[in-house]
Structures are given as structure tokens and as C-alpha cells.
Amino acid sequence: MRRLPVYILIDTSGSMRGEPIEAVKVGLEAMVASLRQDPFALENAAISIITFDKDVKTVLPLTPLEDVQLPEITTPDAGPTHTGAALRMLCERVDSEVRLSTPERKGDWMPLLFLLTDGKPSDIQEYNRQTEEVKRRKFGAVVACAAGMKARTEPLKQLTNQVYMLDTLDSNGFKQFFKWVSDSIGVGNRSVGSTDDLTLPPPPEEVNIIV
């Protein structure tokens, strides 16, 4: 069975504590519920969620959408944002979980990566190294979302040219973001035959595109 692997990296540093992280959870729930109404996604999508603050946790290993039960997501009181370490974990997981074609096995679709952060990487050296590692792996699309006023877009542009900005950390914004993620998952599934980056659907209105 060919899967469409979807990796979602979520910033859980102290500044996300409280309303922002609750809004993210609501957004994730809505995303999963809406994907479950999409026959492509239901048959093919597999989702992984990795959270990062001072620690990096794979709170949901790559799991077929059908079997997904959303995990607990917690935030520490304060502390650094180890985005670089999160990308390292991502690469490790992609290397071990995403299946490439062999004569005896059909490969997965190219994985998609969505990264959501409200700040900037604290481990900047590691971050610089790992953005190169991410580029070495073939993602169908990499989308970074900078949420809130303190989020820095420059480091994200190093990772991908698809960087978007959410002005506020409320549930409406995140819902729109995850709606967009789920729309992209549909497109990813359908983008048969292409070796190029997939064409993402237009971002929601709440999201500002960084040129």
C-alpha cells in the first residue's frame, strides 16, 4: 500500500502554553476530522506529529489516518525552542519510516512536511545543519508557518520558500492553517506522475505569504 506520509512539527515551547496550544489542538482535531471525510486521505494518508521545545518528542509515529488517535500535547513552563533538533528527529524518522520503491515493494508518495512555530530556533547551528539535511531528502512539499508577532520568518525561509504567517495565535487562524494542510494532503495524493514539487492549494486568507 502506497502511503502519503505527512509530518507535522509543532512548536511546544513555553510561549505556546495556554490558549495557543489549545488552539493548535482544536485545529489538529478539525484537520483529522475533515481528512476522514476525504476518501484519498482515508485510504492513503499517514500522519506523524513531532513536538519540540527544549525536548523533541515524536508524540505520534507515522500512523495511517484511519488509525490515528490524537496524542496528548503538553508544553513546559518556559525554555528554549530546539527547532534544529526537531528537524534532526524528522530526518531520522523519514529515513526509517518512509518506504522507497524497490523491485519487491511499491514506494510511498513523497512525504509532506508542515512546521508550525511561534518563535525562532534556539539551536541555530544545529538548525542550519539540519535544514540542509531536510533538503537532501525529497519532500513533496515543505510548508513553514510562523504564528504570532514574535515568530521570525528569516530562519524558516532557509528551510523552504513556502513560508506563511499567521498574525494571531487563536483557534480560527490555526483552524485555517490545518484546513489548508488537509487540502494539500488531498492534492499530494492526486499529484500522480510528477517528479516536481506539488502545487499547493492557495493559502487561506488569514495566512500571509512571505515573499
Binding site: 500500500m1 514506494g107 492526486r190 500522480v192 506522475g193
Partner: protein, 472 residues
């Protein structure tokens, strides 16, 4: 109950009185004789204090028990709406005894408990969506009247994906409209003079994934037989789902390659016949090279001309680039000679061409172009494919059962991997399914409609356009 409680009160009174006497005795031995008032005050103080400690300990016990309970594996997998669900977890009843659940009413599910601590949720989920179920447990140290411990779990019941597919018509007025289905039957066996002549049946249908979003069919095919030169021509093409005009790319590829290959084969005429005959008589490297050269100048050139025609179309279309017309192309030409059947193929992209022999074995007439990931392949519109000189193949066989060309919409569900493509039993399964549904043996034009119907088979995760052409 009543008797029970009175017994307990008596027991406590006796104990406390015993305690009071013992306290009095101990104090007297130490030189202080307490009066009743003092003893009562002391006793009240002692009971209150011990009671508080006892309560704290109970609370601690409950917290410890809750932490323990949270560690118990109480995971129920997701299910599917309308499909019977049953899952059992085990919770040691000597530690945590389940007393019941809430949240199951109207879900179609129920809980069954047994003495061994097996908790089974079973039934047929009525609705799709998430449910939250609360399990209640007693715990070590729990006594009647105390609150149970709770554990909440979530289970999602998915909708059957088959019921989610929509069939949306292609909007009117799009560029390059194309019918959702196509089919053709080419009758040769009945009419022609060739003994043992073969027929062609072909069909193509829009995939569920395209129907779901109202996008047109991107596949195409062409099949024909020309009485004059007796060449059979079959081609199938799969326009890339990600390219906006790929439906036209596949159409042009098929039409042009047919026109050109017929022209070039007829130009090659007697040269071709001679080269093939020589090779059949003496299968030397030299004779093979001569056939190869002729093939290069006929079928490969035809494919090249088809790719040029696509380029011309994209040049003439405002705002279009050649990539918008990305398509695969699988071509086969076939002709009967006195000594047997000559079959030659040209292959760009995924899909499959198989030559099924009468003994059940199969010859794969080329190699599918795949990548590391699903959906990666090569297209006729990529200039690099023409620097590749291994895309064409030929063979001469005394006879064969069927020559089958298909796009990946058919080959993915039936073969899945390149390795399986080589396995004759997989081809056997495919042909059995076709024969069970299509009355090929009757050699009637109705077969095309039956084949089209057969193409609607269900296969999880495989919903691309499907096209198949069979010479048999």
C-alpha cells in the same frame, strides 16, 4: 446492612473503651492519674488526628491508584461505521475492577466484562465520528461509597471510503474536453484472410480520483488493424495527473504515433519483411541489429514525431508549456508472418506491456520507468527519453495468447511492484478476472463494453484512470 453497622459501632466502642483504660493505666504508672474529662478530651483529640491522617492516606492511596490506572494499557483501535467492531483489553481485576462505562448509549456498541478482567467493546458502530467512553474502576483500598476512578478513551469510527467518492461531471467548456470513457473492438479474426487472425479489444475509463474532483480523464488509447499491410497497432497513454493539459498530451501521443508508425512501417515495407525473415532464419547478432535499426527508424521515430506534435501544440497554446502535456506512451506493433508473430514495442513511463504465451508464461516487453517514490515516472515529453536506446524491444513467437498493454491505473492494482510484473501467476490472476467478466472467446464487439465495465473494479488506494488494450 443495618446489623452490620451496629456491629461495627459496638466493636469500636469496645476498642475505644479498652484504649481509654489502657491510657489511664499507663499514665497512672507514670504518676499522673487522669480524670474522665481529661481522658475524653485526649480521646477526642486522638481520634480527630488519626482520622485526618487516615483520610490523607486514603487520598494518597487514590492518587497512587489513579497514577497506576493511567499506566494501564486501555487502548481501543479505531473502527469503521457499519462494520462490526470488537476489541478486548485486559485489566487485572484484583487491582482495578471495572464497574461500568458511560458514553456508549446510541453508539451501537456495548461493554462486556468477565471475571478474568477482560473488557470487550463490541457492536456495530452506528455513526461515523469520534466517541468518548469513560470506564469506571474500583481500586485497592476503595470501599463502598467512595468515588470510582475514571479513564477516558477516544475511538474514531471512519466512514467507508467507498461511500465518500463523488462522481462530479467535468465542467463544460474546458480546453480539450474528453469523454469519460472510450472503448473499441477491432474485428479481424472473422473477416480477414489471415488464418488464426487476432482481434483487439480496448477500453478506458475516468478514475474515481478524477471523478471525485470533476477533472477529465487523462488516459487515452488507440488500436487499429490495416487490411493492406496487416500491421496491428496498439498504444495506451497516461497523461500526468499533475499536468494541466495532459489529457491532450495523451490524445496527441496516441493519434500521432499511430499515424506515423503506419506511415513509416509501410515505407519500410519489404525491407522490414526481409529483415525480420532473415532474423527468423538466422538469429545472429548482425540480423538482430538490422531489425533494430529498422525499428529505430519506425517505432522510435514515430514516438519522436508524436513528442514533436505535442511540442507544436504547446507552442500554439497561449500560456502553455510542453510539461503541461506530460504523458506516458506504450506502443506495440504486431504482424503475422508465415513463420510466426512479430511483436515490437516502445515504452516510456509506467504501466505494463506483457506478451502472454499459450503455455501460461509471459514476456514483459520492456521496463516500467519508476522512481524512488510512488508517482515518479518519465514522460514522452522529456527530451532525455530519446537518448535512451533501450526503450524498444522485439520478439518473434510461433503464436501467443494475448498481447496486453495497460496504463498504471490497471497495472498498479494487479501487479503493484516491478517484481510482480515478471510473475506469470500474477498475469494469470489478471487474465482470469478479465475472462470471468468479458466473453473474449465469443469475439464479439460487445466485449469492449464488458471490458469497460470490468475496468471499474475496486482496489483500495488505486483510483487512477484505467486503460487496457488486448490483442488476442
Amino acid at each position: 446492612m443495618r446489623r452490620d453497622r451496629s456491629l461495627r459501632i459496638i466493636h469500636r466502642t469496645v476498642t475505644v473503651d479498652g484504649l481509654r483504660q489502657r491510657v489511664a493505666k499507663a499514665l497512672t504508672a507514670n504518676g499522673h492519674t487522669p480524670d474522665d474529662n481529661e481522658l475524653e478530651k485526649f480521646e477526642t483529640w486522638l481520634i480527630r488526628r488519626m482520622w485526618n491522617e487516615y483520610q490523607t492516606e486514603l487520598m494518597d492511596q487514590r492518587i497512587l491508584a489513579r497514577n497506576e490506572l493511567n499506566k494501564v494499557n486501555l487502548k481501543f483501535p479505531n473502527g469503521r461505521q457499519g462494520t462490526p467492531y470488537k476489541h478486548t483489553v485486559h485489566v487485572d481485576p484484583t487491582v482495578f475492577k471495572c464497574t461500568g462505562t458511560s458514553g456508549l448509549s446510541d453508539t451501537g456498541l456495548g461493554l462486556v466484562r468477565d471475571a478474568q478482567g477482560n473488557l470487550t467493546l463490541s457492536g456495530t458502530p452506528k455513526q461515523a465520528g469520534d466517541i468518548e467512553v469513560t470506564f469506571y474502576f474500583t481500586y485497592p483500598g476503595w470501599s463502598e461509597g467512595q468515588k470510582y476512578l475514571e479513564r477516558q478513551i477516544h475511538i474514531a469510527f471512519n466512514t467507508d471510503p467507498d461511500s465518500l467518492w463523488q462522481n462530479i461531471p467535468v465542467p463544460e467548456g474546458i480546453d480539450y474536453p474528453k469523454e469519460d470513457t472510450d472503448m473499441k473492438y477491432v474485428s479481424v479474426s472473422v473477416w480477414s484472410d489471415i488464418p488464426g487472425g487476432k482481434d483487439i479489444v480496448a477500453a478506458s475509463r475516468r478514475g474515481r480520483s478524477h471523478a471525485h474532483e470533476g477533472s477529465p480523464r487523462d488516459d487515452d488509447f488507440v488500436v487499429s488493424y490495416l487490411n493492406g499491410d496487416e500491421w496491428y497497432v496498439l498504444a495506451v497513454a497516461d497523461g500526468a495527473g499533475s499536468a494541466k493539459y495532459s489529457r491532450e498530451g495523451s490524445r496527441i501521443a496516441c493519434r500521432e504515433v499511430e499515424t506515423w508508425v503506419r506511415l513509416l512501417l509501410s515505407e519500410a515495407g519489404s525491407d522490414f519483411t526481409e529483415a525480420v525473415t532473415n532474423y527468423n532464419n538466422q538469429p545472429t547478432q548482425e540480423n538482430a541489429v538490422r531489425v533494430g535499426k529498422l525499428l529505430y527508424n519506425t517505432i522510435v521515430k514515430a514516438a519522436w514525431e508524436a513528442s514533436k506534435a505535442i511540442k507544436t501544440e504547446s507552442d500554439n497554446k497561449a500560456g502553455a508549456v510542453v510539461k503541461d502535456y506530460s504523458t506516458t506512451l506504450l506502443l506495440a506493433v504486431c504482424r503475422k508472418f508465415d513463420f510466426g508473430w512479430f511483436v515490437a514495442t516502445y515504452w516510456v513511463g509506467d504501466g505494463a506491456i506483457g506478451l502472454l504465451m499459450n503455455d501460461g508464461t509471459v514476456k514483459i516487453m520492456g521496463e516500467p520507468d519508476g522512481g524512488e517514490y510512488a508517482g515518479q515516472t518519465r514522460f514522452l515529453t522529456m527530451p532525455s527519453v530519446f537518448s535512451d536506446r533501450t526503450r524498444y524491444r522485439f520478439t518473434i513467437v510461433p503464436d501467443f495468447k494475448a498481447l496486453v498493454l495497460m496504463t498504471d491505473g490497471v497495472s498498479d492494482p494487479w501487479f503493484e511492484t516491478d517484481a510482480n510484473l515478471q510473475r506469470s501467476e500474477k498475469w494469470g490472476e489478471l487474465m482470469k478476472s478479465i475472462n470471468d467478466n468479458v466473453s473474449l472467446n465469443e469475439r464479439k464487439p460487445d466485449c469492449a463494453a464488458e471490458l469497460l465495465e470490468w475496468l471499474g473494479f475496486r482496489s483500495r488506494g488505486n483510483h487512477d484512470d484505467r486503460t487496457i488494450a488486448i490483442l488476442y
